[in-house]
């Protein structure tokens, strides 16, 4: 299969260049030409007004999937506690199921976890498949894959959602291969296409620099892992779900792994370039005591501490936590600038942050011009109040 351009028809309008996700079309002498890195993805075809882009691709036939019904959620639990993402998945599953006029089901695996089924029902599951067995005491890849594979083949759900956690990202790819379906990782948005009625899965790609919407047309269930913290929990008033217990027959020899021990650790510090949340301080922070306060905020948000060149030179933060032109460039999900005026050299290091929040006494401070949210006030009053309002006990 290949894609080529009839240069007689091409007027060099560049629409295809813009449409190409792989940067594989260039304009040479006023005509578009396809470069070697073209992957034949066909995204350019519809963009051309002159029908100058040709492809010899034969459209793949989409099989009839009308017997696949239901939106399923993998109920992740550890030590008898449901992962928060499970409830979030049930939230979005309800939305998808409403549009598709189908049921929401959860699959729960573990030992002595029957009590969690009620919680799943209260959060949107109409049907819970429960596998309760000693061999499922701890999460083990092949045990969960086998049970889910058998169940999916028998019940034929249309959509299967799994949290993008350390367990989910271990399980989902292996399960998808076993069932024989496509899988989209780490989705941040899910919707149903109005015409095709298929699941549209949106995820960040290329280090978060590009968003891609992906479809899974040729296999069922349409499977996706979903990032924790993105979807909304939607508790249900009705409380009348059905629980079906599954018969579990697993031999240790087919599971191939044993969990010897599980250790809980205090949170490890990550490098600021990998941090999801960064609390940064500048000249406006009042010495050691001020930074201790910022550290407590970072602790609450499970983020990392950083700062400007000035505070790094004063030794208030380690040199490798300096952000800006002469320091590091960061791209956290949330950047909280405290007492930072926002000099251009500092801004250069933070512009790729997803969201920026600033706290500063001076309403004219440059940092507010690049912030999503700004609070005008003394950070020594604002930060403690922020910590207090963020701490669950006081909510």
């Amino acid at each position: 299969m290949s894609i080529w351009i009839e240069s007689d028809l091409c007027d060099g309008c560049r629409r295809c260049v813009k449409a190409c996700p792989y940067d594989a079309i260039a304009i040479e002498d006023g005509k578009a030409s396809v470069l070697d890195r073209c992957t034949n993805c066909s995204a350019c075809l519809a963009e051309c007004r002159n029908e100058a882009i040709k492809s010899d691709a034969v459209p793949k036939e989409i099989p009839d999937f009308s017997d696949y019904q239901g939106v399923w959620v993998y109920a992740e639990q550890r030590d008898g506690v449901l992962a928060k993402v499970t409830l979030e998945l049930l939230g979005v599953a309800q939305e998808l199921a409403e549009i598709r006029k189908q049921n929401v089901c959860a699959v729960l695996l573990g030992e002595n976890v029957g009590n969690l089924a009620e919680e799943l029902i209260r959060h949107g599951a109409e049907h819970v498949y429960l596998a309760d067995d000693k061999s499922l005491c701890q999460y083990r890849t092949l045990a969960h894959v086998k049970i889910l594979d058998t169940l999916i083949r028998e019940k034929k759900p249309e959509i299967m959602l799994i949290g993008a956690t350390h367990i989910g990202r271990d399980l989902a790819p292996r399960l998808s291969r076993r069932v024989g379906v496509g899988l989209t990782a780490d989705c941040t948005a899910l919707s149903i296409d109005a015409e095709e009625k298929i699941l549209l899965q949106t995820r960040p790609a290329f280090g978060g620099n590009v968003m891609a919407t992906i479809a899974n047309r040729y296999s069922r269930p349409q499977m996706a892992t979903v990032r924790p913290g993105v979807m909304e929990v939607r508790p249900k008033e009705k409380n009348d779900g059905v629980i079906t217990r599954l018969d579990v027959q697993l031999a240790e020899s087919e599971i191939k792994t044993k969990v010897l021990e599980v250790f809980q650790e205090k949170r490890k510090h990550t490098s600021i370039t990998d941090a999801k949340v960064i609390v940064a301080g500048g000249r406006g922070v009042n010495g050691e005591a001020g930074f201790d306060m910022l550290r407590s905020l970072a602790e609450v948000l499970e983020g990392e501490i950083a700062g400007t060149r000035i505070v790094a030179e004063q030794g208030l933060i380690p040199a490798d936590c300096q952000i800006g032109q002469t320091g590091k460039t960061v791209r956290p999900e949330l950047y909280i600038a405290c007492g930072i005026s926002g000099a251009i050299q500092h801004r250069a290091g933070i512009m790729n942050s997803r969201y920026i929040m600033a706290i500063n006494k001076d309403p004219e401070a440059a940092i507010f011009k690049v912030a999503d949210w700004g609070i005008v006030g003394d950070l020594h009053d604002v930060v403690p109040e922020l910590i207090e309002q963020l701490t669950p006990e006081t909510k």
Binding site: P204, A212, E265
Partner: protein, 276 residues
């Protein structure tokens, strides 16, 4: 012990420049590197070989320029490299990729252990490792942060969890995906790199026919998922300034954050506060 290490050549996405006007990604001038976590996988493979004896073969898939990472891998201590390169492989999703790699592994033959990075920085999916393990029907452990011990039939590793780790005893042959805390990778030995460049025989290039796959099974055609559209994330700043009394400003701020379409970060922000 026969060890296979999967490596991928990727654009250095940590060094991406955005077009200041459109906010689009500028692909020109992006450096190509060996995927960072794959480097740790290779280091682990070479260390096992040094301790236990055996052979390290690296396997990569990509355009011909990926020969660079194969050469570098030999410089770091791999014995041989196999590069899968064919236009038919282009545009593959993880389903088609794991199938192609699986066929290549079967072509290469015997192995006890397959090592790869947890995920590549261009796609971030973390799917190919487990999918390959399933294709080959061998055990897997993902997110490996430490290899404690191994013998000819078992390996004991620490697998990283969100809030700690678990120790796992795993049967061999197995596939492990590793994270960067596993080790500190060595630099390529320049003499070995030169040798690798001169003696080209140690890097084998295989195409679709060599591994016995049909073009309809691989690349974009063999894929089950497809990109419908791509777009730049909306990075426009909202510039909301809250000027009132601090207490009210903050509750207003938290309200705005939770209401806004500031999906991931801000709900994660809210969620992180609800953790026990």
């Amino acid at each position: 012990m026969n060890i296979l290490v999967l490596i991928k050549q990727v654009p250095d996405t940590t060094d991406v420049k955005l077009d200041p006007k459109t906010g689009n990604l500028l692909r020109e001038g992006l450096k190509s590197i060996m995927n960072p976590e794959d480097r740790h996988a290779l280091e682990a493979g070479v260390r096992i070989k040094e301790a236990e004896g055996g052979k390290v073969t690296v396997l990569s898939m990509g355009p011909m320029q990926a020969i660079d990472v194969c050469t570098e891998a030999i410089g770091m201590g791999a014995d041989e490299a196999v590069l899968l390169s064919d236009r038919a492989f282009a545009g593959a999703d993880t389903w088609a990729t794991s199938f192609t790699l699986g066929k290549a592994v079967e072509t290469i033959g015997d192995y006890d252990l397959i090592l790869c990075g947890r995920q590549a920085i261009d796609g971030d999916t973390a799917q190919v490792g487990p999918q390959l393990a399933d294709y080959l029907d061998i055990a897997q452990v993902t997110y490996v942060q430490e290899i404690e011990s191994l013998d000819s039939t078992h390996i004991v590793v620490k697998r990283s969890l969100e809030n700690g780790y678990e120790r796992i005893d795993c049967q061999l042959p197995a596939l492990l995906t590793v994270i960067n805390s596993l080790n500190t990778p060595r630099y390529a030995h320049i003499g070995r790199v030169i040798d690798a460049c001169k003696a080209k025989a140690r890097i084998k290039v295989l195409n679709a026919a060599d591994i016995g796959v049909m073009t309809s099974q691989v690349g974009l055609e063999g894929s089950l998922t497809h990109v419908v559209k791509t777009f730049s994330p909306d990075f426009k700043r909202q510039g909301k300034l809250l000027n009132g009394p601090i207490k009210e400003s903050i509750s207003e701020l938290l309200k705005q954050i939770s209401k806004s379409d500031a999906a991931t970060s801000c709900k994660a922000f809210a969620a992180s506060c609800e953790l026990p």
